[in-house]
Amino acid sequence: MRTHVRPSGIIDELREQISKLEGGAARKAESLPFGIPEIDGKLPGGGLAFGALHEFAGGGSGTVDGAAAALMVAGIAARTKGKILWCLSRPDLFAPAISQAGLHPDRVIYVEADKEEDVLASFEEGLAFGGLGAVVGEIVRLPMVMSRRLQLAAEKSGTMGLALRRWRRQTEANDYGQPTASVTRWRISQLPSEDLPVAGVGRPRWLAELMRSRAGECAEFCVGACDGKGRLSLFPPMAYGQDQEGRVRWHTAS
């Protein structure tokens, strides 16, 4: 009786066939780990996938500036290799801060356009070029069709696409719930900084919400902001009631 073939074997075989059909990308799924097992464990592939589009936005009242999200993106880009293309239309990014997140100014090429469509076009062109470490696009709207084009361009070249969503008004941030083709979607909100034994501002902390992850689960992490090499660190959930709004449900750090 040769009845039982192990179901996982069948599934593996099917997966292989599907991946062959999907544009013949025999590429091994590569990813950029955060170096924090708690976060990497939640992401399929053990990190942020190369050759994919990832979305970042600020949370709370940071949606307009996206200041924390910009630093998060800079930290991720800093840990890739090669040049970074940063497409934007509002030139208020302060380069010294980007450099403090580990991204050396010599590595970043800025592309400034007047119109949102041009930013998207540069974003896509950069992704399709191949050979860049990552391409960052500061964009307001990301329609489904456009996100799919970006995702395809990223898949083809294996470049990581980092869409930095920021809005002109806080109400526009509702757009962030709309579906896109991006592989992960993050929201980075600011938290009170680390307590110091003396008066002063400690290491900034963020609440990094993984709102969507293709073939994965959502998760929330309380992290310390990027250090000089773009690395995050995990903080234990804050037990000392600093968060007065109580809007955050903390996951345990395991």
């Binding site: 709370g60 009242s61 940071g62 500036d65 996206g66 200041a67 924390a68 999200a69 910009a70 630093l71 998060m72 800079a74 290799k81 090669g82 040049k83 293309l85 208020d92 990014l93 302060f94 380069a95 010294p96 801060a97 980007i98 450099s99 403090q100 997140a101 050396h104 100014p105 010599d106 970043v108 090429i109 800025y110 592309v111 400034e112 356009a113 041009d118 076009a121 540069s122 062109e125 950069g126 070029f129 191949g130 050979g131 860049l132 980075i188 600011q190 938290l191 009170p192 900084s193 008066a199 002063g200 501002v201 400690g202 900034p204 902390r205 963020w206 902001a225 000089g228 007065q244 709004e245």
Partner: protein, 505 residues
């Protein structure tokens, strides 16, 4: 519709002599004239500003000028030299501004800048940039841009403004008031028209055409039509022997985008082969499209480094093929390498072990030719935050330097610091509360002050100026970069008002 820039150099002969800077050139405040000679008559044919101030005029007899101004510097006219210098300037403009450049008389240059102005930041920026750059090398210039050559020519010569932008399709309004001397007609014709009492373009264009043609010939009507854009006046671009050019003529005019793309590809191959024999790479390539209705269109591709790669060049040129309007058909395509530089072949190192560094210039070229601003940001030694960085070219040498990292910097810096209201107790402590954009925040943590002094060695006004920067965090964890103008004690150091300059991530 074309957009034509006309540049007029009212003092070209004197400016050129000064610019050439040979020994004994008089200083700018010394009057100087250029004398031309016809038969035994010697008269002034150009006078600089200092001479004009003293009452010397073009056309005045040389002896009279000499009698009026003692110690007058006089030079013999050299029309050939003037024209050669103008030709050189036009070639420079061909590289710099537009693919279609030609001489306009003996004292002007004309350029077709349709679709080229965005690379200079728009028409106003382009014109003011041209005038200022020329003034920097000591050439007085007046510029105008309009829909037609005739209009731009007339406005550049007859208005006092240094540069004028005539908006698209407002040519008629701009030229109706101008006197008829601007029409590029023979002096006899102008005099004849004046006898009839016609002074302005508006009056002339209101006249019935047939009697005018009968009396003065077809030239008057033609010039009027050219002025208003009723007939095309193509600009025949200048060329010099070192410019590599390849052409293709079509017996049957072409028009479809794929056909154009195919022939562009072939022209690029031809051009690259030609460049290879000369050991050159192209920095700027122009595709010039001659249509059957006798108009010219041009597409320019700029490159950050010299290139002789046919695939890349084809890509850059065909990227904007939708900008070409074939009209009734294209009868000739020319591909011109207006700016080429030596390009040496280099052996590529084998990358078996080391990862090769990817050259991003092709990407930069593609994006740059679409009119996007591409730059890198590099540190400048300045403590004042908004002066601590500058933009450099995307392919410029890597500086390897970084900003000092001992103080945190906000990820968004406001171009204009926003005034806030604060409450603080001590002059040296961070504020307790701040009100920004109508929202009051309680501040729970703060760092500072980081004192920034004005750059008094560069700017006198900043001799005492001080800014005290603080990093503050409100109760929700939002972090801001605020500063007080002044040191909090001495009012000479600043207004003591508080500003928000950036937000941290």
């Amino acid at each position: 519709m074309a957009r034509v820039v006309s540049l007029y150099f009212p003092r070209w002969p004197t400016d050129r002599i000064r610019k050439a800077g040979s020994d004994g050139t008089p200083p700018p405040d010394k009057p100087m004239v250029v004398i031309s000679r016809s038969g035994s008559k010697r008269s002034v044919c150009a006078a600089d500003d200092a001479a004009r101030k003293l009452g010397l005029r073009v056309g005045m007899p040389a002896s009279k000028a000499q009698a009026l101004v003692a110690d007058l510097a006089m030079y013999d006219a050299d029309p050939v030299g003037d024209l050669a210098a103008l030709d050189k300037l036009a070639l420079w403009m061909l590289r710099q501004y537009s693919p279609v450049v030609a001489l306009d008389g003996v004292d002007g240059i004309v350029l077709d800048t349709e679709g080229a102005d965005h690379l200079q930041g728009g028409e106003e920026m382009m014109l003011s940039g041209m005038v200022n750059r020329l003034r920097g090398v000591g050439v007085v210039a007046r510029a105008a841009v309009a829909d037609t050559w005739g209009a731009a020519h007339a406005i550049a010569r007859l208005t006092a403004a240094e540069w004028t932008v005539v908006p698209v399709s407002e040519t008629a309004k701009a030229v109706l008031e101008l006197p008829i001397v601007c029409l590029r007609l023979a002096p006899e014709t102008i005099n004849g028209l004046r006898v009839l009492g016609i002074e302005s373009v508006g009056q002339l264009s209101a006249m019935p055409r047939a009697p005018l043609t009968l009396r003065f010939g077809p030239e008057v009507g033609r010039r009027l039509d050219q002025l208003f854009g009723r007939v095309a006046e193509p600009i025949d671009p200048i060329r010099s022997p070192e410019i590599v050019e390849v052409n293709r003529l079509f017996a049957e005019p072409i028009g479809a985008a794929e056909t154009i793309a195919k022939y562009v590809g072939r022209l690029v191959m031809e051009l690259c082969a030609d460049l290879e024999t000369r050991g050159l790479g192209v920095r700027r390539a122009d595709l010039i499209v001659h249509r059957v209705d006798n108009t010219i269109q041009a597409i320019r591709a700029g490159l950050a480094k010299p290139v002789r790669d046919d695939k890349r060049l084809t890509r850059l040129l065909t990227d904007r093929i939708e900008k070409i309007d074939p009209g009734f058909g294209i009868e000739k395509l020319s591909l011109v390498a207006v700016w080429s530089e030596p390009l040496e072949e280099r052996q590529q190192s084998s990358s078996l072990i080391e990862e090769s560094v990817v050259d991003v210039t092709p990407l930069v070229d593609v994006l740059g030719n679409r009119g996007q601003r591409i730059y890198r940001i590099t540190p400048v030694a300045s403590d004042v935050p908004e002066r601590s960085f500058k933009r450099v070219g995307p392919m410029s040498e890597e500086a390897g330097i970084d900003w000092p990292s001992n103080w945190p910097r906000p990820s968004r810096l406001f171009a204009k610091p926003e005034e806030i209201e604060v409450m603080n107790v001590l002059p040296d402590s961070p504020p307790r509360t701040m009100t920004w954009r109508g929202k009051r925040r309680r501040i729970v943590r703060g760092d500072g002050p980081e004192r920034v002094f004005g750059e008094w060695w560069l700017r006198d006004a900043e001799l005492h100026a001080v800014r005290d920067y603080y990093v503050v965090e409100d109760e929700n964890g939002e972090r801001f970069w605020v500063y007080r103008a002044g040191d909090g004690v001495d009012t000479a150091t600043g207004s003591h008002r508080w500003f928000l300059h950036g937000v941290f991530g």
